[in-house]
Symmetry: C2
Subunit: 149 residues, 2 copies
Amino acid sequence: MEADQDFAAILRDSGNRMTGPRRQVWEVVRLADSHLTAEEIAARVHAKDSTVNLASVYRALALFSDLELVRESNLGDGDAARWELAHPDEHFHLVCRRCGAVDHHVGRLVEEIREHLSGGHDFYAENIELVVTGLCQRCATISEQPIRP
Amino acid sequence: MEADQDFAAILRDSGNRMTGPRRQVWEVVRLADSHLTAEEIAARVHAKDSTVNLASVYRALALFSDLELVRESNLGDGDAARWELAHPDEHFHLVCRRCGAVDHHVGRLVEEIREHLSGGHDFYAENIELVVTGLCQRCATISEQPIRP
DNA sequence: CTCCTTGCAAACCGTTTGCAATCGA
DNA sequence: TCGATTGCAAACGGTTTGCAAGGAG
């Protein structure tokens, strides 16, 4: 399929080799329903090939990040980083502090922030990370007691 | 001084004790010129009392965070968390990817984000963390080679 | 006198790294 | 062939925790 050819070409053109671990990590991230942690990605890769090591997943993700194929998000605290396809759309994350659910929201907000920053600040913004913590609809109606303290 | 009385009162009223480590961590954070890591806070506390342990600094910061006296910021990657007085003003962080400098910028932007979120989203926003990564003025003019790769 | 708080050291957890073996081009 | 890449296991760095000793109220 086309995306795979692109992927292979990007690897080749950047002087990197196409390998099993890389192909599988790419497939998982590409088909992911949401932002996954490295462990989650490794688990899904494992389902297809149990010999792939977690370290290789990290290395593949780091490479893809350099190639701007994927993007890393840090949602605060000691939580593990999340990985997603690079920029299907600029979006931000909504993290529920009670149930831990991570939602993402696409909209113009990040673009507006980028525009806001482009004037007046002595800073060249490249990456904008917006994380909103609070309560999701369901948790807000149920209780204030945190599930994960 | 008044702020210290407030501090003591807040501790007492919340059922916590006033102790040396807590007072000193509070002083450091209150007088800080910028957002400090736990290690930096510990170092400054150490200058006054070298018996205070890093673990106690973390425990004091966690307590102050619960009491909403301070606020934790995670600036991404494996970087250490930063701590600052809770809400002198809503602001966001500018992190230079080359020299690592962390600047903060006060303005209406975070308020605007909060307003934006208040309509339409099925989410009750409590905390907004905006981290902008890029190049500071100086690094942008010097080189593209990252100092810290 | 209580029991909250501390210092200490060890555990923890996500992530990174050194190394020899392996594999892609 | 030969260097890039991997699996493995150990290291790393920031943060947390169990525990006995110490200190606040």
